[in-house]
Symmetry: C2
Subunit: 310 residues, 2 copies
Amino acid sequence: MAEFDLIARIRQRVVLRDDVVLGIGDDGALLAPPPGQLLAVTMDTLNAGVHFPPETAPADIGWKALAVNLSDLAAMGAEPAWCTLSLTLPRADTAFVDGFCDGFLALAAQHGVALVGGDTTRGPLSVSITAHGFVPAGAALRRDGARIGDEVWISGTLGDAAGALRHWQAGAPMTPALRDRLDRPTPRVALGQALRGLASACIDISDGLLADLTHICRASGVGAEIDIDALPASDALRSAFDADVRRTLQATGGDDYELCFTVPPAKCPAVQALVAQLSLPLTPVGRIVPGTGVHCPGLSPGASGYQHFV
Amino acid sequence: MAEFDLIARIRQRVVLRDDVVLGIGDDGALLAPPPGQLLAVTMDTLNAGVHFPPETAPADIGWKALAVNLSDLAAMGAEPAWCTLSLTLPRADTAFVDGFCDGFLALAAQHGVALVGGDTTRGPLSVSITAHGFVPAGAALRRDGARIGDEVWISGTLGDAAGALRHWQAGAPMTPALRDRLDRPTPRVALGQALRGLASACIDISDGLLADLTHICRASGVGAEIDIDALPASDALRSAFDADVRRTLQATGGDDYELCFTVPPAKCPAVQALVAQLSLPLTPVGRIVPGTGVHCPGLSPGASGYQHFV
């Protein structure tokens, strides 16, 4: 009966919300969506050894598994509300579950997200989460709204998570500030909602700026140019890598979970005003142009991943 | 870019619904829930070698992964609408994906369920699905409504899937009729909705009748008595096993995905009338009594799993 013990351990600790009519413990959850809003739904899975190093702390796995889903809701401009969790473990391991919950539920509490159900199964370590949020009809941020002349903006800094991963892959110690970006990404939930009515298109950067911006270009039928020297970098990244490697990490490294969004010129001052309001750097890094693909002059031609995206 | 090819293959074949404002291909789906109804949400994961034999046909894996989720919605009395799919594969395997889609989308089409998003990742074969359905507020079937004096009813027949699994575990050939129950369970979706206002509690039988009825008893604060000889069996099961083994399979075998539900005596004639209406056997097999746990006199004391549930 280990499954039921694990579920009981998780159930005790979840956020409560009035719109959860029935939560964990039945065949399904019963939820009351707010009238007049659309439901935004996203689902992401993280597998040990593929999406995180196997030795990652359980609390960091819990945090990150929810963060990548909240990041998708942020990229839609949605307000997070509910999630379900499927946790696959090699064996019933209460220490792992408690640690996992520490990270998972800390982030859930920050955003008022209720865990309303899911599944625990036996198998190789894997975490699958479905997250639900609300967004007024017509206000959602999509990938297909970028127009020629729009500016391309980025939140925060890029390349930190990929820098940590590069250290890990080389067997080198990870700089703590970089490792924290890899293990505990910050989903830009407030920014996503603030960009309703301002951004013409938006995506979160999970696979790397060039790859993810390519999705916007393809969906919108446009091209983009990126100013490699405009890409924001953290001090930690500048200290850890030479300029050439750093630029590659910024342009092609994944796992940062910053937002990449396009803004019509007339709305750029309003976006600039969000910097102070949200205490979050927002940087224009390029523009939407006629054509296809993402062009990034100055990036080393051999840079990992670069050839795939243009 | 194999992930995007796989997604494109799946995307071409999904059911379309008017309430899907934005489906596969953005950071998340945008969905329009019907006003005045609750959203029922359930999530189940199937792992190769744990929930199905590794050599199971891809089409059967696709069918079953959706079926177990629709079965949970059925047990809530909900009308299925949308699902998300996370498919983890050891390698990008278009033959597997096409086969998987054959089974998955055939069942989705039967119930008008739109696949609206999800994830494809690399790792050991695993399928995680989140299914969404609608149920009018107050009409949902729950586990906590059984009352002393209610009758316990079962849909269909029990033990077939466990019989097939027993053959498989013994290395014996599986009887086709039993194997079909294991590989292609039928979620009792129409029955679940028909039981709104009739059943006082409901659960689907995934872990075995005694185990699953125990959940109803625990949630409702009651006990139950089962008449072992009243449990319905298929002709295939009767031919394949002697009476003692058969009874154990019926009472404790999982994976049948029939509904177990409790009915106040005054509503039993209306339930009986559903048999003809739905062309589905429905059988009273016991009653809700004071106390705790599920009692099943006549079941072999050493029957697998029996001792856990009383």
